[in-house]
């Protein structure tokens, strides 16, 4: 009998290790598998057990529940925490999991299970198809960068492939610093071979033989899982001088960040990978032409690269058949903050924010009304409930004065003070700015001060006009998104929650 208890760090943060230990002690003949998380995070630790009818889920399980669970399993399996067959839980069944298909299902470090569950099919297909065709397939799939910018991935692949250089790199950006996002982390902890497979396909297609994964230091479990997966992949010949027995060479290394949000910006990440301060570089040249150590470099987010094996295996049309408008495929949304049912929702672009926050999320965890939803991380807009009918794709969000970012959705109830949130956006920028551009480095400090004056009621109209002006300077005068987009949450708060800025405070 197999029992699954997630090893995902979110599950561990609420006691999964203790539950796994207690189950191992109580059921010496069972095999306790430490899988990734299914992404139903409010139910963690979510324990699954093998039955004649498939895997059945129980959760959230505490150590105190273990004796009654063990008793239930020796009988018909009835238990107050029983959620039914895992795959039939509506929250999961309604999703379209292409990238997260195996996350939570398999043991992330079991290479045989990875292959048995369809792993490596994309890489085999890529080797059969050839590099040039693979690049064109990524173009045709409509895949866009999932890190936030939404740049067409295929165009980047073409650019790197066209460069004539002795050495090219594939850099995966796993510096997932946006609050409200955790999909990169869960993918690396739950299906690390998928990322390595995607990187290998990318490397072979653009002519790079070295890959680097830059993981933020706040993700020690992801670093550990990726490092172990790397060693296993090498020992199996999935990486190395003859990838899967072919003549192609590709290898990967893992690098760990050091606590700098702006290193998620691609050129700051390159500086950090070269061992320096994470200061943003001016573009051009774009990294696809001159990136890591001056060589052509394909930089992509974890989720972008992780979508590639599906495209390679099933073809670009299959991937592009999901989505809306110019946003093709699926997006891994992350429901976070004050939300009753938080976790991973992978579904085609075009679902509304309301569907995500209310239907999937179940409203707030506190049970109070939703007042604001921040979409796209600390640089994303705060949207009021009236705006929640917006379709979740790149263009629709942009039209609504917001952005998709990395797909994080943070819910706030009616106790939120939007002046505090606007102030925090500026404070965060002042702390995390790399310091290169004056509007970002100094403007953010001034922004905090101006918002404080507005909150105190000093020359409210004049200071509000000053804040709007400052935001314009930051937006137009900063090299990267740090200074350029910090105004988005500030101005959205000012626009849609102006009552917070004008009320008297005690």
């Amino acid at each position: 009998m197999r029992i699954w208890v997630p090893r995902d760090s979110a599950a561990r943060s609420v006691g999964a290790d203790d539950v796994a230990h207690a189950l191992t002690e109580s059921m010496p003949h069972a095999r306790v598998v430490r899988n990734g998380s299914r992404g139903l995070l409010w139910l963690e630790p979510l324990v699954e057990v093998e039955t004649p009818y498939g895997r059945v889920a129980y959760g959230p399980v505490t150590v105190d529940d273990v004796p009654s669970l063990v008793a239930a399993w020796s009988d018909a399996g009835a238990h107050p925490l029983r959620l039914g067959a895992t795959d039939e839980i509506p929250w999961l069944a309604r999703q379209q999991r292409l990238t997260f298909a195996r996350v939570g299902v398999i043991d992330p470090l079991d290479a045989d299970e990875y292959e048995a569950a369809g792993g490596l099919a994309g890489l085999h297909a890529c080797l059969a198809r050839g590099a040039q065709q693979m690049v064109e397939d990524v173009v045709a799939s409509g895949l866009r960068g999932r890190g936030g910018a939404g740049f067409p991935a295929g165009i980047k692949w073409r650019t790197v492939a066209a460069q004539d250089a002795d050495r090219k790199y594939v850099c995966v950006n796993a510096d997932e610093g946006d609050s409200g996002t955790f999909a990169d982390r869960m993918l690396m902890e739950g299906d690390p071979f998928l990322l390595l497979e995607g990187m290998t396909i990318a490397g072979l297609s653009v002519g790079a033989d070295q890959g680097v994964i830059y993981i933020r230091s706040e993700y020690p479990d992801a670093v550990s899982t990726m490092t172990q997966a790397l060693a296993i992949a090498r020992s199996r010949g999935w990486l190395g001088s003859n990838v899967l027995g072919s003549a192609a060479a590709f290898d990967v290394s893992v690098r760990v960040g050091a606590g700098s949000y702006v290193c998620g910006e691609e050129t700051a990440m390159l500086e950090s990978l070269e061992g320096g301060r994470g200061v943003v570089r001016a573009k051009p040249p774009v990294p696809a032409v001159s990136g890591l150590f001056g060589q052509p470099t394909l930089i992509s987010n974890v989720l972008t690269i992780a979508a590639v094996p599906y495209i390679a295996e099933h073809g670009p049309e299959a991937y592009a058949s999901f989505g809306a408008g110019r946003s093709r495929g699926t997006q891994v949304f992350q429901l976070a903050g004050n939300v009753r049912c938080g976790g991973i929702v992978e579904t085609a672009f075009g679902i509304t924010l309301e569907d995500l926050v209310i239907d999937f999320g179940g409203g707030t965890r506190t049970g109070r009304p939703v007042r604001a939803v921040q979409v796209g991380g600390p640089l994303g807009a705060y949207l009021p409930p009236e705006a929640m009918s917006v379709a979740m794709d790149y263009e629709s969000l942009s039209d609504a004065g917001a952005m998709l970012g990395h797909g994080g959705i943070v819910v706030f109830d009616d106790s939120v003070d939007m002046v505090e949130q606007a102030r925090f956006a500026m404070e965060f920028c002042s702390e995390e700015s790399c310091g290169k551009c004056t509007p970002c480095r100094i403007g953010s400090v001034r922004g905090v001060e101006v918002i404080d004056r507005i909150a105190r009621g000093e020359d409210r109209d004049a200071n509000t006009a000053l804040l709007v002006d400052l935001c314009e300077v930051m937006r137009d005068g900063s090299l990267c998104a740090m200074g350029g987009l910090t105004p988005m949450p500030v101005l959205s708060a000012l626009r849609d929650f102006s009552e917070d800025f004008t009320r008297e405070r005690t």
């Binding site: 609420v14 050091a258 606590g259 061992g275 301060r277 150590f293 109830d413």
Partner: protein, 149 residues
């Protein structure tokens, strides 16, 4: 309680750096020193500069840029409370205010922007172990347990 880190020594530092051969090694070198000693001693700037043939200014610049890199010994117990928006929405500010009240020389309390546990906030780490759905009471209890052992 056994110390978490080795005491600083220039000789050990040079040994730690001996095996580092990556291109662009300065950040890796400083991270390796911190993993060994818990912080980066002031002497490390010259040692790293000499080992990799870069200027001391370059090494110092990197050392002072990154939040993770410490220039003095960390407290026995280091608590980091996530102050990202997702954790703010479920009470991180109150949690931080409470923790500040019991912070001491031995128990450091600092903020961090996002631990990737945004659906189970407020999140915090105690000596790098991650906790979710933290309350002022549960965090204080974890710290008390760890500090007593």
């Amino acid at each position: 309680m056994t110390p978490r880190f080795a005491p600083w020594s220039d000789e050990t530092a040079r040994e730690v750096l001996a095996d580092i051969n990556e291109p662009g090694p300065v950040l890796i070198a400083l991270q390796a020193l911190q993993a060994e000693f818990g912080y980066v001693h002031a002497d490390a700037v010259s040692i790293v500069a000499l080992r990799f043939n870069v200027s001391r200014a370059d090494v110092y610049g990197v050392l002072t840029y990154y939040r993770d890199l410490l220039t003095s010994t960390p407290p026995d117990t280091q608590v980091r409370i996530c102050m990202g928006e997702a954790c703010q929405s479920v009470g991180a500010r109150a949690l931080m205010a409470d923790a500040r009240a019991w912070a001491s020389d031995d128990i450091g309390v600092d903020h961090v922007y996002c631990l990737g546990n945004c659906a189970l906030g407020p999140a915090a780490t105690v000596n790098d172990r991650l906790y979710g759905r933290v309350t002022p009471g549960s965090l204080a209890a974890v710290v008390d347990r760890g500090h007593a052992s």
